[in-house]
C-alpha cells in the first residue's frame, strides 16, 4: 500500500504503524461514565468497507495521519493530518 502523505507525498505503508480506528481521536471527557470509557477503549465498528484509521509515520516524520481506506480492497481514498482532524473536531 502507498500512503500519500499530505506533507511528504507518496510513501510506502511499511514506514507507518497502524494505530487503530480514527474514533480514538474522540476521547471522552475525564468524568465520562465507565460505559463511555469502555466503549472508547475497547469497542470498534471494524467495518468491511471504507473506514477511517490512524497511521503513525514511525519510520518517517513521526506525524499521525487519518487515512480513509477500504478494508475489502486496501484502496486508500483520503489522507489527512490527524492534527487537523482533531482540531476540526474540537472546534
Amino acid at each position: 500500500m502507498i500512503i500519500d502523505h499530505p506533507l511528504l507525498g507518496p510513501r510506502d505503508s511499511a514506514e507507518f504503524t497502524y494505530m487503530g480506528d480514527a474514533s480514538l481521536l474522540l476521547r471522552p471527557a475525564p468524568d465520562a461514565s465507565d460505559a463511555d470509557w469502555h466503549a472508547y477503549a475497547y469497542l470498534r465498528d471494524n467495518p468491511a468497507g471504507a473506514t477511517r484509521e490512524l497511521w503513525w509515520h514511525e519510520g518517517g516524520d513521526r506525524s499521525w495521519l487519518v487515512v480513509t481506506r477500504n478494508t475489502l480492497t486496501h484502496e486508500i481514498t483520503d489522507v489527512e493530518m490527524a492534527r487537523d482532524v482533531a482540531k476540526a473536531v474540537q472546534a
Binding site: M1, T17, A41, Y42, L43, D45, P47, T73
Partner: protein, 416 residues
C-alpha cells in the same frame, strides 16, 4: 456409513461404487431449535457436540459459502496447549485432549500427529520466561520440557545455532503438540454432525437478524427467513460484520494473517519449530511442503490477502532461523482474516440480546481451539451456562478489568 479398514478393502474389491456422500444437502426448514451461523471448524464442532454430547435436536449450520472454506482451511494446522495464564491454559489443554480422541469420536481420519512443538530460546530473559511458562503448564497438569542447546541440536541440527545476534540457547518443548490435517477437521465434524441429524446449509448467508423486544427470533438469509429458538454466531474473521447486523459492537478488529507453503521436500523438520527472536514458525506437512508463517500484516482488513512487507519479514525470520530454507521455492501463499480481540484472547458468551450467543475473537490461534471451542459453545447453547474451562471468556472482562492478555500488550489488537 461407518469408515473402517475393512470398508476400504471391500470397496477396493468392488470398484469403489459403494461410497456415499459424507453429508446431505438439505433444504432449509422454516424453523430450528438452534441455528449456528458459520460452517467453519468452530461452527461444525459446535453442531457436532450439541447433537452428540448434549442431545439437542433440530440444529442447523448456516454457511455463506462452502463448509471449511474459511479459516479452518487457511491456517498452519498447529495444535498445542502451551499457554501461561489460568484463564487460557485449562481451556487449551481440554482442546488438546479432545484432539487426542477426535478421530475415534468422529470416525474420521483427521491425521492428528503429535510430533511436538518447540519454542526456541535465544537469551537468558527468554529462558526465564520459558521456565515460568513451562512451570505454569505443569501446574495445570500439562506436559512441558525445557531443553538446552545440545538437546535442541540433536533434534534439529539444521538450525542456525551460532547466529551472532540470535544464538539458540534452548527451547521449551511440548511433546503432545503437533499438527492436524485442517480440512479433514471440517469434513469430519460436518459428517458426524450430519449423521446426528444436523442440517448443514451451504450458500446460505445471514443478511440480518429478526429481533423483537430484545429477543432474537430468527435470521434473514439468502435462502429465506429461518426462525430459531437460539442463535449461535461462530464466524471469526467476520464477527464484527455479522454482529453489526444485530446492532452490536465488539472488542475486535479484523486483521489479515498470511501463511506460506514451500515445494514438497524430503522429511527434514521433525515437529513444529518457532523462532523466539522474531515471529516465525514452521512445520512440514505430510506431503513434504514446509508450512510457515509469521506476523499479521497489522492493519484492519477483510481482503483475505496481505502485502509484501510481511512476506519479506517472514522470509527474513526463516533465513535467520534455518538458512537452508533459502534453497526451497515458495509454492503458495495466502491470507486469512483474524478476529483480533482487545486482549488477544477469545470470547464465548451470551450477548445482550436474548437468544443470541457469540463465539469469536480467536486471534490467530483459533485452529488449535476448534474442539474445545465447539464443546464449550455447545455447552453454553444447550445449558445457558459457560463450560468450566471457558468461564473467563466473557464480554464483560473488558469492563471489569479481567483481561486475559498473554503478551501484556493492552488494547491494541495488532500487537497480540
Amino acid at each position: 456409513m461407518r469408515y473402517s479398514g475393512l470398508r476400504v478393502i471391500k470397496e477396493a474389491l468392488t470398484g469403489h461404487k459403494g461410497w456415499t456422500a459424507a453429508w446431505r444437502e438439505p433444504d432449509p426448514q422454516p424453523a430450528y431449535d438452534i441455528i449456528i451461523i458459520g460452517g467453519g471448524g468452530h461452527g461444525l464442532a459446535t453442531a457436532h457436540y450439541l447433537a452428540k454430547v448434549f442431545g439437542q435436536k433440530r440444529i442447523a449450520v448456516l454457511e455463506k459459502g462452502w463448509i471449511g472454506g474459511g479459516n479452518v482451511g487457511r491456517n498452519t494446522t498447529i495444535i498445542r496447549s502451551n499457554y501461561l495464564l489460568d484463564g487460557n491454559e485449562p481451556f487449551y489443554e481440554f482442546s488438546l485432549k479432545l484432539w487426542e480422541g477426535l478421530e475415534q469420536d468422529l470416525n474420521y481420519n483427521a491425521m492428528v500427529s503429535q510430533r511436538g512443538v518447540m519454542n526456541l530460546i535465544h537469551s537468558d530473559a527468554q529462558r526465564d520466561a520459558a521456565t515460568r511458562r513451562g512451570n505454569a503448564m505443569r501446574l495445570n497438569g500439562v506436559d512441558a520440557e525445557l531443553l538446552d542447546a545440545a538437546q535442541v541440536r540433536r533434534e534439529a541440527p539444521f538450525l542456525d545455532f551460532d547466529n551472532a545476534r540470535f544464538p539458540i540457547k534452548g527451547a521449551l518443548a511440548q511433546r503432545r503438540g503437533g499438527t492436524v490435517r485442517h480440512d479433514a477437521v471440517a469434513w469430519g465434524y460436518a459428517r458426524s454432525a450430519d449423521n446426528h441429524g444436523v442440517d448443514i446449509l451451504q450458500n446460505c448467508e445471514v443478511t440480518g437478524f429478526r429481533i423483537e423486544n430484545g429477543k432474537a427470533l430468527g435470521v434473514e438469509t439468502t435462502r429465506g427467513y429461518i426462525a430459531a429458538g437460539k442463535i449461535g454466531c461462530a464466524v471469526a474473521g467476520s464477527s464484527s460484520h455479522v454482529m453489526a447486523k444485530a446492532g452490536l459492537r465488539l472488542p475486535i478488529e479484523s486483521h489479515v494473517l498470511q501463511a506460506f507453503v514451500s515445494e514438497g521436500l524430503k522429511p527434514v523438520i521433525p515437529g513444529v519449530i518457532t523462532f523466539g527472536a522474531g515471529h516465525f514458525y514452521v512445520s512440514q506437512s505430510d506431503k513434504g511442503g514446509l508450512v510457515f508463517g509469521g506476523d499479521i500484516d497489522g492493519y484492519n482488513s477483510y481482503a483475505q490477502r496481505g502485502n509484501l512487507p510481511v512476506v519479506e519479514d517472514v522470509c527474513e525470520g526463516g533465513m535467520a532461523l534455518m538458512p537452508m530454507i533459502g534453497r526451497a521455492r515458495l509454492l503458495r501463499m495466502w491470507g486469512g482474516i483474524m478476529d483480533m480481540s482487545m486482549d488477544g484472547s477469545p470470547i464465548i458468551d451470551r450477548t445482550p440480546i436474548d437468544g443470541l450467543y457469540f463465539n469469536g475473537g480467536w486471534c490467530y490461534g483459533g485452529f488449535k481451539a476448534t474442539p474445545a471451542s465447539g464443546y464449550a459453545f455447545a455447552h453454553l447453547l444447550a445449558r445457558d451456562a459457560p463450560h468450566e474451562t471457558a468461564i473467563a471468556y466473557r464480554f464483560n472482562r473488558f469492563e471489569t478489568g479481567h483481561m486475559i492478555d498473554e503478551k501484556g500488550q493492552g488494547n491494541q489488537p495488532n500487537l497480540h
